[in-house]
Symmetry: C2
Subunit: 119 residues, 2 copies
């Protein structure tokens, strides 16, 4: 049951990505727990404001691709869950890890890391 | 205090890497919690046996570089901790996330993901 809720949170992340919905993306990231984001080919980004700035530049200012995912799996440990998936952006594939923690009764993102797969 | 113990576990991971110590590496990975490993440029690897096979090929059969780390930080949530660092292998730098969980009284690895930083 928890796994379903976590997968819904992961799907909401990619829906926000796909729909360029910055406000939804902002809501998905943890409010109290520290956060960190590793976009492919970028230096690591620490801190909620800095991470959300990066998403603003990707979703609002950038040319967001039509992103789809497959091969989703979960490792859960108490109130923390790692969701693994393959991201598909046209002909490009990346492997991604999204880490969620429970804040209140909601699973929120504390970390996203995506990296290109070899062709 | 917990953060120090977690950093020690992270340092032990890189010591095993640097010293090509497969048995130490084997001991560091979780025994009961599922594990997953994303080596740079490899497809994702799931399962303890499969992850350890990959480390055997890197540490014992491969030409392991002299790896150093810097810029270490932690996000901890209960019995789970994400350790972020920059890996240095000669002129090459990677950003890495190592995720640890508590098993018994020991912090053990459940996930390693490293990706090249732009030059």
């Amino acid at each position: 049951m928890q796994d379903e809720v976590i997968l819904e949170a992961n799907n909401a992340f990619y829906a926000a990505f796909r729909q360029r919905d910055y406000l939804a993306m902002e809501e998905l990231w943890a409010h109290r727990t520290p956060v960190c984001c590793y976009h492919p080919g970028w230096p690591g980004i620490n801190g909620r404001d800095e991470v959300l700035d990066s998403w603003y530049s990707i979703l609002v200012l950038g040319d967001t691709p039509d992103i789809r995912i497959s091969d989703t799996s979960i490792i859960r440990n108490g109130n923390t869950a790692l969701v693994f998936c393959t991201e598909h952006l046209g002909q490009v594939s990346l492997i991604a890890t999204n880490t969620f923690v429970v804040e209140g009764d909601t699973w929120r993102l504390v970390h996203h890391q995506a990296a290109h797969l070899p062709n």
